[in-house]
Protein backbone atom coordinates (compact mmCIF):
# COMPACT_ATOMS: atom_id res chain seq x y z
CA UNK A 1 0.00 0.00 0.00
CA UNK A 2 1.28 3.48 -0.78
CA UNK A 3 0.01 7.02 -0.66
CA UNK A 4 -1.37 6.78 -4.18
CA UNK A 5 -3.59 3.95 -3.01
CA UNK A 6 -4.86 6.11 -0.16
CA UNK A 7 -5.46 9.01 -2.51
CA UNK A 8 -7.47 6.72 -4.80
CA UNK A 9 -9.38 5.30 -1.84
CA UNK A 10 -10.31 8.81 -0.69
CA UNK A 11 -11.63 9.37 -4.20
CA UNK A 12 -14.29 6.74 -3.51
CA UNK A 13 -15.78 8.57 -0.50
CA UNK A 14 -19.57 8.72 -0.24
CA UNK A 15 -21.24 11.11 -2.66
CA UNK A 16 -23.17 12.81 0.12
CA UNK A 17 -19.97 13.54 2.02
CA UNK A 18 -18.25 14.93 -1.09
CA UNK A 19 -21.21 17.21 -1.76
CA UNK A 20 -21.47 18.29 1.88
CA UNK A 21 -17.80 19.27 1.96
CA UNK A 22 -18.50 22.27 -0.24
CA UNK A 23 -21.78 23.27 1.32
CA UNK A 24 -21.67 26.86 2.63
CA UNK A 25 -21.14 27.06 6.37
CA UNK A 26 -24.29 27.88 8.28
CA UNK A 27 -23.96 30.36 11.09
CA UNK A 28 -25.58 28.95 14.20
CA UNK A 29 -26.81 31.42 16.76
CA UNK A 30 -28.48 30.75 20.04
CA UNK A 31 -31.22 33.08 21.17
CA UNK A 32 -30.04 35.65 23.68
CA UNK A 33 -32.46 38.03 25.31
CA UNK A 34 -30.80 41.12 26.68
CA UNK A 35 -32.43 43.85 28.65
CA UNK A 36 -30.39 46.99 29.20
CA UNK A 37 -31.70 49.33 31.87
CA UNK A 38 -28.46 50.38 33.52
CA UNK A 39 -24.91 50.76 32.20
CA UNK A 40 -23.50 48.46 34.93
CA UNK A 41 -26.03 45.70 34.07
CA UNK A 42 -25.12 45.98 30.38
CA UNK A 43 -21.42 45.79 31.10
CA UNK A 44 -21.98 42.62 33.11
CA UNK A 45 -24.02 41.16 30.26
CA UNK A 46 -21.45 42.19 27.67
CA UNK A 47 -18.79 40.47 29.75
CA UNK A 48 -20.97 37.36 30.07
CA UNK A 49 -21.77 37.10 26.36
CA UNK A 50 -18.39 35.60 25.36
CA UNK A 51 -18.92 32.81 27.88
CA UNK A 52 -22.23 31.96 26.25
CA UNK A 53 -21.13 32.50 22.70
CA UNK A 54 -17.53 31.32 22.73
CA UNK A 55 -18.44 27.96 21.34
CA UNK A 56 -20.29 29.58 18.49
CA UNK A 57 -18.19 32.52 17.36
CA UNK A 58 -14.42 32.42 17.67
CA UNK A 59 -12.12 35.40 18.01
CA UNK A 60 -12.99 37.06 14.71
CA UNK A 61 -13.92 40.51 13.45
CA UNK A 62 -17.57 39.47 13.31
CA UNK A 63 -17.48 38.50 16.96
CA UNK A 64 -16.18 41.91 17.98
CA UNK A 65 -18.72 43.61 15.75
CA UNK A 66 -21.47 41.63 17.45
CA UNK A 67 -20.10 42.59 20.83
CA UNK A 68 -20.06 46.21 19.74
CA UNK A 69 -23.71 46.09 18.72
CA UNK A 70 -24.67 45.01 22.24
CA UNK A 71 -22.66 47.89 23.68
CA UNK A 72 -24.47 50.38 21.43
CA UNK A 73 -27.87 49.13 22.55
CA UNK A 74 -26.93 49.65 26.19
CA UNK A 75 -27.51 53.37 25.80
CA UNK A 76 -31.27 53.12 25.71
CA UNK A 77 -33.29 51.86 28.61
CA UNK A 78 -35.25 48.61 28.36
CA UNK A 79 -33.59 47.71 25.06
CA UNK A 80 -34.50 44.20 24.08
CA UNK A 81 -32.49 42.37 21.46
CA UNK A 82 -33.18 38.97 20.05
CA UNK A 83 -30.96 37.02 17.75
CA UNK A 84 -32.93 34.80 15.46
CA UNK A 85 -32.37 31.07 15.73
CA UNK A 86 -30.93 29.64 12.58
CA UNK A 87 -31.49 26.06 11.45
CA UNK A 88 -28.80 23.56 10.67
CA UNK A 89 -28.53 20.16 9.00
CA UNK A 90 -27.60 17.99 11.94
CA UNK A 91 -26.43 14.41 11.48
CA UNK A 92 -28.62 12.45 13.90
CA UNK A 93 -27.11 9.09 14.85
CA UNK A 94 -29.22 6.20 16.01
CA UNK A 95 -28.93 2.52 16.88
CA UNK A 96 -30.54 0.20 14.37
CA UNK A 97 -30.12 -3.55 14.14
CA UNK A 98 -27.06 -3.52 16.34
CA UNK A 99 -25.17 -0.83 14.49
CA UNK A 100 -25.06 2.92 14.11
CA UNK A 101 -26.85 4.77 11.34
CA UNK A 102 -26.96 8.48 10.67
CA UNK A 103 -29.41 10.79 8.98
CA UNK A 104 -29.24 14.49 8.18
CA UNK A 105 -32.13 16.35 9.80
CA UNK A 106 -32.86 20.07 9.72
CA UNK A 107 -33.21 21.33 13.27
CA UNK A 108 -32.87 24.56 15.18
CA UNK A 109 -29.19 25.20 15.79
CA UNK A 110 -29.40 24.51 19.50
CA UNK A 111 -28.16 21.55 21.54
CA UNK A 112 -31.68 20.99 22.90
CA UNK A 113 -32.91 20.48 19.35
CA UNK A 114 -30.12 18.03 18.51
CA UNK A 115 -30.97 16.11 21.70
CA UNK A 116 -34.68 16.10 20.96
CA UNK A 117 -34.09 14.74 17.45
CA UNK A 118 -31.67 12.11 18.84
CA UNK A 119 -34.36 10.99 21.33
CA UNK A 120 -36.95 10.65 18.57
CA UNK A 121 -34.67 8.59 16.38
CA UNK A 122 -33.64 6.32 19.25
CA UNK A 123 -37.10 5.85 20.72
CA UNK A 124 -36.24 7.68 23.95
CA UNK A 125 -39.26 9.05 25.81
CA UNK A 126 -40.06 12.58 26.93
CA UNK A 127 -39.23 11.74 30.55
CA UNK A 128 -35.55 11.99 29.54
CA UNK A 129 -34.83 15.70 29.66
CA UNK A 130 -32.02 17.86 28.32
CA UNK A 131 -30.54 19.88 31.17
CA UNK A 132 -27.45 21.66 29.90
CA UNK A 133 -24.41 21.71 27.68
CA UNK A 134 -21.08 23.20 28.56
CA UNK A 135 -18.23 23.56 26.10
CA UNK A 136 -14.81 24.50 27.39
CA UNK A 137 -11.56 25.06 25.63
CA UNK A 138 -8.00 25.69 26.63
CA UNK A 139 -8.14 29.30 25.47
CA UNK A 140 -7.97 32.40 27.59
CA UNK A 141 -9.80 35.68 28.10
CA UNK A 142 -8.24 39.09 27.78
CA UNK A 143 -9.78 42.34 28.94
CA UNK A 144 -9.61 45.80 27.50
CA UNK A 145 -7.84 48.48 29.51
CA UNK A 146 -11.10 49.85 30.85
CA UNK A 147 -12.30 46.34 31.69
CA UNK A 148 -15.46 46.84 29.66
CA UNK A 149 -14.77 44.44 26.83
CA UNK A 150 -13.61 40.89 27.19
CA UNK A 151 -12.23 38.92 24.27
CA UNK A 152 -11.97 35.19 24.34
CA UNK A 153 -8.95 33.75 22.50
CA UNK A 154 -10.07 30.33 21.42
CA UNK A 155 -7.76 27.43 22.22
CA UNK A 156 -7.30 24.25 20.22
CA UNK A 157 -8.59 21.63 22.65
CA UNK A 158 -12.33 21.40 23.34
CA UNK A 159 -14.30 19.45 25.90
CA UNK A 160 -18.06 19.03 25.80
CA UNK A 161 -20.18 18.18 28.83
CA UNK A 162 -23.78 17.18 28.33
CA UNK A 163 -26.10 16.90 31.33
CA UNK A 164 -29.40 15.09 30.97
CA UNK A 165 -31.88 13.62 33.43
CA UNK A 166 -31.03 10.23 34.90
CA UNK A 167 -34.13 8.65 33.34
CA UNK A 168 -31.84 7.89 30.38
CA UNK A 169 -30.38 4.97 32.37
CA UNK A 170 -33.66 3.09 32.02
CA UNK A 171 -32.95 2.73 28.28
CA UNK A 172 -29.56 1.11 28.68
CA UNK A 173 -30.99 -2.39 29.02
CA UNK A 174 -33.35 -2.14 26.06
CA UNK A 175 -30.56 -1.51 23.57
CA UNK A 176 -26.79 -1.68 23.19
CA UNK A 177 -25.67 0.81 25.84
CA UNK A 178 -22.28 1.52 24.29
CA UNK A 179 -23.78 2.14 20.85
CA UNK A 180 -26.54 4.30 22.31
CA UNK A 181 -24.04 6.50 24.11
CA UNK A 182 -21.82 6.62 21.04
CA UNK A 183 -24.80 7.77 18.95
CA UNK A 184 -25.50 10.47 21.54
CA UNK A 185 -21.91 11.72 21.50
CA UNK A 186 -21.72 11.77 17.71
CA UNK A 187 -25.05 13.58 17.41
CA UNK A 188 -24.33 16.23 20.00
CA UNK A 189 -20.75 16.99 18.94
CA UNK A 190 -21.00 16.52 15.20
CA UNK A 191 -22.51 19.85 14.25
CA UNK A 192 -19.86 22.19 15.53
CA UNK A 193 -17.32 23.99 13.41
CA UNK A 194 -14.46 22.52 15.37
CA UNK A 195 -13.56 19.01 16.56
CA UNK A 196 -14.56 18.07 20.11
CA UNK A 197 -11.69 16.35 21.90
CA UNK A 198 -13.50 15.13 25.02
CA UNK A 199 -17.12 14.27 25.61
CA UNK A 200 -18.62 13.87 29.09
CA UNK A 201 -22.14 12.78 29.94
CA UNK A 202 -23.62 13.63 33.34
CA UNK A 203 -26.90 12.08 34.48
CA UNK A 204 -28.67 14.26 36.98
Amino acid sequence: MNTNDILDAIGEADDAAIERAKRPKRRSLAPIWITACAAAACIALVAAIPAIRRELVPDTEEYHHLLGSYEESAESAMDIMEIEIDTIDCNIWYVENGSLSGEDVTVDAMPESYFQAWKEYNGIGEEVRFISVKIEDNGYDSYSDDGMVVTHHTGDYFSYTLTVSKELEAYYDSTDRALLLESLEKTMTGSYDFPIDEFHLILE
Binding site: D5, I6, D14, E19
Partner: protein, 185 residues
Protein backbone atom coordinates in the same frame (compact mmCIF):
# COMPACT_ATOMS: atom_id res chain seq x y z
CA UNK B 1 -31.93 21.19 -17.05
CA UNK B 2 -32.46 18.95 -14.04
CA UNK B 3 -29.96 16.14 -13.41
CA UNK B 4 -32.64 13.48 -13.81
CA UNK B 5 -33.43 14.85 -17.28
CA UNK B 6 -29.73 14.87 -18.24
CA UNK B 7 -29.34 11.28 -17.03
CA UNK B 8 -32.39 10.31 -19.08
CA UNK B 9 -30.67 11.76 -22.14
CA UNK B 10 -27.65 9.55 -21.45
CA UNK B 11 -29.89 6.52 -21.14
CA UNK B 12 -31.68 7.43 -24.37
CA UNK B 13 -28.19 7.73 -26.00
CA UNK B 14 -29.09 11.29 -26.93
CA UNK B 15 -25.86 13.27 -27.50
CA UNK B 16 -27.48 16.35 -25.99
CA UNK B 17 -26.58 14.67 -22.67
CA UNK B 18 -22.94 15.67 -23.14
CA UNK B 19 -23.77 19.26 -24.08
CA UNK B 20 -26.12 19.62 -21.13
CA UNK B 21 -23.61 18.06 -18.71
CA UNK B 22 -20.90 20.36 -19.98
CA UNK B 23 -23.11 23.43 -19.70
CA UNK B 24 -23.95 22.61 -16.12
CA UNK B 25 -20.75 21.04 -14.76
CA UNK B 26 -17.77 22.22 -16.79
CA UNK B 27 -16.83 24.81 -14.21
CA UNK B 28 -17.20 22.35 -11.32
CA UNK B 29 -15.17 19.63 -13.05
CA UNK B 30 -12.69 22.23 -14.27
CA UNK B 31 -12.01 23.40 -10.72
CA UNK B 32 -11.36 19.83 -9.57
CA UNK B 33 -8.99 19.16 -12.46
CA UNK B 34 -7.35 22.57 -12.01
CA UNK B 35 -6.56 21.80 -8.39
CA UNK B 36 -4.73 18.64 -9.42
CA UNK B 37 -2.95 19.64 -12.64
CA UNK B 38 -0.65 22.58 -13.15
CA UNK B 39 -1.60 23.18 -16.76
CA UNK B 40 -4.91 24.72 -17.76
CA UNK B 41 -4.83 22.84 -21.05
CA UNK B 42 -4.34 19.52 -19.29
CA UNK B 43 -7.19 20.36 -16.93
CA UNK B 44 -9.49 21.20 -19.85
CA UNK B 45 -8.61 17.96 -21.60
CA UNK B 46 -9.50 16.07 -18.42
CA UNK B 47 -12.87 17.78 -18.31
CA UNK B 48 -13.53 16.75 -21.91
CA UNK B 49 -12.48 13.18 -21.09
CA UNK B 50 -14.86 13.26 -18.14
CA UNK B 51 -17.92 13.75 -20.31
CA UNK B 52 -16.75 11.07 -22.70
CA UNK B 53 -16.23 8.72 -19.76
CA UNK B 54 -19.72 9.59 -18.50
CA UNK B 55 -21.15 8.82 -21.95
CA UNK B 56 -19.41 5.44 -21.86
CA UNK B 57 -20.60 4.55 -18.38
CA UNK B 58 -24.20 5.79 -18.36
CA UNK B 59 -25.86 3.34 -18.82
CA UNK B 60 -25.41 0.99 -17.03
CA UNK B 61 -24.78 3.49 -14.24
CA UNK B 62 -27.65 5.69 -13.15
CA UNK B 63 -25.95 8.12 -10.74
CA UNK B 64 -27.85 9.31 -7.70
CA UNK B 65 -25.97 12.60 -7.82
CA UNK B 66 -24.68 13.60 -11.25
CA UNK B 67 -22.36 16.28 -9.86
CA UNK B 68 -20.36 13.93 -7.66
CA UNK B 69 -20.42 11.19 -10.31
CA UNK B 70 -18.81 13.55 -12.80
CA UNK B 71 -16.56 14.98 -10.10
CA UNK B 72 -15.23 11.54 -9.25
CA UNK B 73 -14.56 10.80 -12.91
CA UNK B 74 -12.71 14.09 -13.30
CA UNK B 75 -10.65 13.52 -10.18
CA UNK B 76 -9.64 10.03 -11.27
CA UNK B 77 -8.75 11.14 -14.80
CA UNK B 78 -6.81 14.16 -13.55
CA UNK B 79 -4.87 12.15 -10.97
CA UNK B 80 -3.99 9.51 -13.57
CA UNK B 81 -2.73 12.22 -15.88
CA UNK B 82 -0.78 13.84 -13.05
CA UNK B 83 0.88 10.52 -12.29
CA UNK B 84 1.90 10.04 -15.91
CA UNK B 85 3.28 13.57 -16.11
CA UNK B 86 5.18 13.30 -12.83
CA UNK B 87 6.38 9.70 -13.07
CA UNK B 88 9.96 10.84 -13.34
CA UNK B 89 9.74 13.84 -11.07
CA UNK B 90 9.48 14.34 -7.32
CA UNK B 91 7.93 17.19 -5.40
CA UNK B 92 6.11 20.39 -6.38
CA UNK B 93 2.44 21.11 -7.05
CA UNK B 94 -0.67 20.62 -4.93
CA UNK B 95 -1.07 16.92 -5.65
CA UNK B 96 2.54 16.18 -4.74
CA UNK B 97 2.14 18.07 -1.47
CA UNK B 98 -1.10 16.24 -0.68
CA UNK B 99 0.61 12.92 -1.37
CA UNK B 100 3.50 13.85 0.91
CA UNK B 101 1.06 14.68 3.72
CA UNK B 102 -0.75 11.37 3.27
CA UNK B 103 2.60 9.60 3.75
CA UNK B 104 1.90 10.01 7.48
CA UNK B 105 -1.03 7.61 7.17
CA UNK B 106 1.07 4.61 6.21
CA UNK B 107 3.57 2.87 8.43
CA UNK B 108 6.18 2.14 5.82
CA UNK B 109 6.90 2.41 2.15
CA UNK B 110 5.37 -0.77 0.80
CA UNK B 111 4.61 -0.66 -2.87
CA UNK B 112 3.14 -4.12 -3.07
CA UNK B 113 -0.60 -3.56 -3.42
CA UNK B 114 -2.83 -6.36 -4.62
CA UNK B 115 -6.35 -5.77 -5.90
CA UNK B 116 -8.00 -7.37 -2.86
CA UNK B 117 -5.98 -5.19 -0.53
CA UNK B 118 -6.90 -2.10 -2.58
CA UNK B 119 -10.57 -3.03 -2.28
CA UNK B 120 -10.20 -3.49 1.45
CA UNK B 121 -8.39 -0.19 1.69
CA UNK B 122 -11.16 1.60 -0.21
CA UNK B 123 -13.79 0.24 2.16
CA UNK B 124 -11.73 1.06 5.24
CA UNK B 125 -11.05 4.63 4.11
CA UNK B 126 -14.68 5.12 3.15
CA UNK B 127 -15.86 3.92 6.55
CA UNK B 128 -13.29 6.13 8.25
CA UNK B 129 -14.42 9.23 6.38
CA UNK B 130 -18.08 8.40 7.00
CA UNK B 131 -17.48 8.26 10.76
CA UNK B 132 -15.67 11.60 10.99
CA UNK B 133 -17.44 14.51 12.69
CA UNK B 134 -18.99 16.86 10.15
CA UNK B 135 -16.45 19.67 10.02
CA UNK B 136 -13.45 17.37 10.24
CA UNK B 137 -14.89 15.32 7.39
CA UNK B 138 -15.49 18.38 5.25
CA UNK B 139 -12.04 19.80 5.85
CA UNK B 140 -10.42 16.42 5.12
CA UNK B 141 -12.33 16.02 1.84
CA UNK B 142 -11.65 19.59 0.77
CA UNK B 143 -7.95 18.86 1.19
CA UNK B 144 -7.63 15.33 -0.16
CA UNK B 145 -10.62 14.95 -2.46
CA UNK B 146 -10.91 18.45 -3.90
CA UNK B 147 -7.16 19.17 -3.42
CA UNK B 148 -7.92 22.65 -2.07
CA UNK B 149 -4.99 24.47 -0.52
CA UNK B 150 -4.89 25.03 3.24
CA UNK B 151 -5.37 28.72 2.50
CA UNK B 152 -8.55 28.05 0.48
CA UNK B 153 -9.93 25.77 3.19
CA UNK B 154 -9.22 28.33 5.90
CA UNK B 155 -11.07 30.96 3.87
CA UNK B 156 -14.03 28.65 3.20
CA UNK B 157 -14.50 27.73 6.86
CA UNK B 158 -13.41 30.96 8.49
CA UNK B 159 -10.54 29.20 10.28
CA UNK B 160 -6.91 30.17 10.67
CA UNK B 161 -4.48 28.25 8.50
CA UNK B 162 -2.81 26.79 11.59
CA UNK B 163 -6.15 25.46 12.77
CA UNK B 164 -6.73 23.78 9.41
CA UNK B 165 -3.25 22.28 9.48
CA UNK B 166 -3.65 20.94 12.98
CA UNK B 167 -7.09 19.48 12.15
CA UNK B 168 -5.67 17.74 9.10
CA UNK B 169 -2.68 16.47 11.05
CA UNK B 170 -4.99 15.00 13.68
CA UNK B 171 -7.25 13.40 11.10
CA UNK B 172 -4.30 11.86 9.27
CA UNK B 173 -3.15 10.37 12.57
CA UNK B 174 -6.60 8.93 13.15
CA UNK B 175 -6.63 7.47 9.62
CA UNK B 176 -3.26 5.86 10.21
CA UNK B 177 -4.51 4.31 13.46
CA UNK B 178 -7.68 3.14 11.73
CA UNK B 179 -5.75 1.46 8.91
CA UNK B 180 -3.45 -0.24 11.39
CA UNK B 181 -6.46 -1.47 13.34
CA UNK B 182 -7.92 -2.85 10.10
CA UNK B 183 -4.68 -4.70 9.50
CA UNK B 184 -3.95 -2.79 6.34
CA UNK B 185 -0.42 -1.89 7.31
Amino acid sequence: MQDTEIISLYWARDERAIAESAAKYSVYCGSIAGNILDSREDAQECVNETFLAAWNSIPPHRPQTLATFLGKLTRRIAIDRWRKLHAAKRGGGRTAIALEELQECIAGQQDVAQEAERRQLREAVRAFIRALPDTEQRVFLCRYWYMDTVEDIAAQFGFSESKVKSMLHRTRGKLRAHLQKEGLQ
